[in-house]
Each structure stands twice: as C-alpha cells, then as structure tokens.
Subunit: 231 residues, 2 copies
Amino acid sequence: MKEAKLTEKQIYERIWKSIAERRLPPGTRLKEERLCEIFGVSRPRIRRALDQLTHDGLVSHIPNRGAFVTTPSVDEARDVFFTRRVVERGVIEALQKRGAQDKLAALETHIAEEREALAEGDTARIIRLSGAFHMLLAELAASPHLADILRDLVSKSTLVTAVFQPKCDAQCGPDEHAAIVAALAAGDFDTAKTAMDAHLIEAERLLELEASGDGTGPQDDVLGAALSKEL
Amino acid sequence: MKEAKLTEKQIYERIWKSIAERRLPPGTRLKEERLCEIFGVSRPRIRRALDQLTHDGLVSHIPNRGAFVTTPSVDEARDVFFTRRVVERGVIEALQKRGAQDKLAALETHIAEEREALAEGDTARIIRLSGAFHMLLAELAASPHLADILRDLVSKSTLVTAVFQPKCDAQCGPDEHAAIVAALAAGDFDTAKTAMDAHLIEAERLLELEASGDGTGPQDDVLGAALSKEL
DNA sequence: TCTACAATTATTGTTAACAATGTTTGAACA
DNA sequence: TGTTCAAACATTGTTAACAATAATTGTAGA
C-alpha cells in the first residue's frame, strides 16, 4: 500500500485536479496538516504544492491564516472569459498552422463521451469532460505555451462557474463543441473561431455576474472525500 | 542596513528581473547557498522563489543537481513568439474595449526613453525598456490575466534572444513601438494589431533559429554582480 | 444580557541539523 | 599515457523541533 513517496508535482496535480473538477469548491480551507495526513507526506512538501497553486491563482494564501481555494470576483470572472476567447482563438490558429485533420477522431470520441455523461446526468464527469475538451484542443495545437496558459484558465473557469452559476450545472454543451469540431473537420478555421467565440460568450452569459457574489465557503471535511478517491 | 527581512515574493521579483533583463544569462547556475548569502535569508526562502521561477519555465531544475537559468530550444523560441502574437493581439482588443485614449501619454514618454537609451547605446537599458513597453501596454489594457501571461512570455523572449541573437542587441526598435502607439492614438485598432503582429514577426525573424543552438553556459560569479545592484 | 479584554489553542512560518545523491578528483591498472 | 574505479566532497532534499502570529473562547465588568 506504500505509495512510493509522492513527489510534490504529483501532489500539486492531485490538488489541482480536485479544484478543477470542483470537488474542492471555492472558499474551502486547505489546512496543511490535514493534507499531510491525506497524502502521507510532511509539511514542506505540501507547502511547495500549495505555493504553486497560489502562484497559479487557484489558491489564495493569507499570511498566518492559511490557504483557501480562491473565490473569484466578478471582475476576475469577466477577465477569465475574455482571456480565454483570446487564447482559444490562438489555439485554433495553431491547429490551422499545423493541420489538424489527423487527430479529429480523438475529438469526436471525446464529444461522444460528453453526450453519454450528459445523458446519465453525471455532473462531476460533465465538468471534467467540459474542461478536458478545451485542453485536448490545446494539446493537439502543439503549442506548449498556449496549452499551459489554457490549463490555468480552464481551471479558473471552473471556480468561476462554481461561484456564479450555482444552480444550472449545464456547463459547455456537447453540441457547441461539436460545432467547433465540425468546422475544423471542414477545414473552415474562420468558422471554427467564430463558433469558439460564440461558445465562450454563451458560457459567460449563463453566469449571474450581476449577482452579489455571495462568497460561499464550505469548511467541512470535504478534503478527505475529494482528495482520497480522485480517480 | 538591515533590510527588514525580504519576503519570498521580493526575492522572486529580484531574480525574475535579473533574468528578464539578461543580467543572468541562460545556463547560469543558481546555487542556493550563494543566493542565501546575497539576499541574507535562509535556504527554504530561496527554494520557494526558485520553485516559482521553475514553474514559470524561467529556471530549469535538475533533481539533485540544482537550478539553472533555462536555455530555450528552437521549438520553444518559435512557440514563445507565436503565443506572444496571440496574446498581444488580445491586449490591443482589450485596449479597444476600455478605450485607450487616456493613457497614451505614458506610452509616448516610454518611447522617448527608448530612443534615448538607443542613442546612448545603453544595452541593458534597451533590453529593459523593450520588454517594459509591452508590459506597459498590457497593464493599460486592464486585463490582469493577459498581463500575467505576457509577463512570462516577455521574460522568456529575453532568454530566447539571449541564445539566438547573440550579436545584434537591436531588440525591438522604438520606431515599431511608435507605429503601434500612433495607430492606437488614431483609434485604428486594426492597424495597431497589424503593426504589433509585424513587430513580433520581425523580432522573430532577427533570430538565428536555424543555428545549432550552442547552449552557452557561463558559470562565473555573475550572480553577485547581477543581483546586488539590480536597481 | 451584552460587550470588551485577556488567555489559551491551533496553525502557520522559520530555522537548524541530518540524510541522500551526484560530481569530481586522484590513484591504480592496463 | 590513457582509462576506469573508488573515495571524498559539495550540494540538494528531507525531517523535526521551535518560534511567532492570529483566532477563538471564556470570563469579568458594565
């Protein structure tokens, strides 16, 4: 059962994934000691992982208080989606440059999975797959920097939707993703860009950005539940 | 003389600046102990700063070997400039959205400084100001995410030019910057985008990306010199 | 009964000592 | 004389103990 010593990168990845897939909602306190128990490592290791997440903006660190999953503000929400439009347009351009015809099958498969999750009403899986679609696109684009950037933005989007879209868990619809892929398959990259832009604008529109921003902050022991069985 | 305890963020900033302004060239070894002496803090603090820089891609960390200023590859160089084109186009769109007329004076002043540095042949200052122009633009755009992203990209660009443009320190010419600002002043954002794109393509063209990538790696005590008097 | 102050407790931040790993230098052998 | 192996050194990686700060709770006074 000994897990051969988790490296800080693995810890970082696992916490990141838990946040990105919304098992660790905004406001959740990330107590160092508790994380030590969960991962079976000592505090400095945890500390380094949390530092990285703080640097990414996913975690907010208050001196002498501790680390919390960031609760995005309205301005931040708007900026995240604006930046995503800029970046994801670039992703499509990168796909155009390198020719994307070869890897379309993977995208089709992914969308099929999304439809399946939607049909089953598996919320957690829907959230995961919605983000993964955009990441998959970025990886196919073969631009490491764009992929890195988008990775951050997608995870922040998850926090944003968690705060500003509390009820409707609809997220990205598979149909809108399909429209983008269809345009790519047709080699019509301008249409693909337009579809992507529309998709992101729609996602932003679904948010309740006029709202007060209630700042919900659960503090229960979601930590163990979220991080223990994160696939 | 006591410097009131440098926080890890300050250390990060100072090392970052030294790399971005090319006082710490690619391949430079960043020995923890030496950095401790320079900043007068203990190792864990240095460690955290180096971790952040590693996460940014500015520093490469080899296990049990230490940290080095990253030496970018040809592929990385191309990707950096491609990504910059995507992002900086976004910056101009953001300027368009919020109306950029109010802060043009700052840009004009900046360009004047660039011309001055160029006339004096002050290479270090030219490098600093070239990067700062693009950052200034991003800050005026009022998109924290774009600014953050561009910050990383600009510093990586510095590394790229250090490796692939060894002789000609020309960097960005003030005239090309002026062209962008002129378009912004005229409210012609499409032209501004075109000018920015051309500017970045020109910068990439000046690189010798066909070359072998010699991987120069000075190991002398540039550390003290670079970090002690970094303004 | 409510408020303010103080003491305790819990948590983070820091430092120092220790262990493990990789590198370099020297010597011995081919 | 060149090459290989071994030992010593230097540097990073880890752990554990300690100090400082902030929050909370309880008590006393109004």
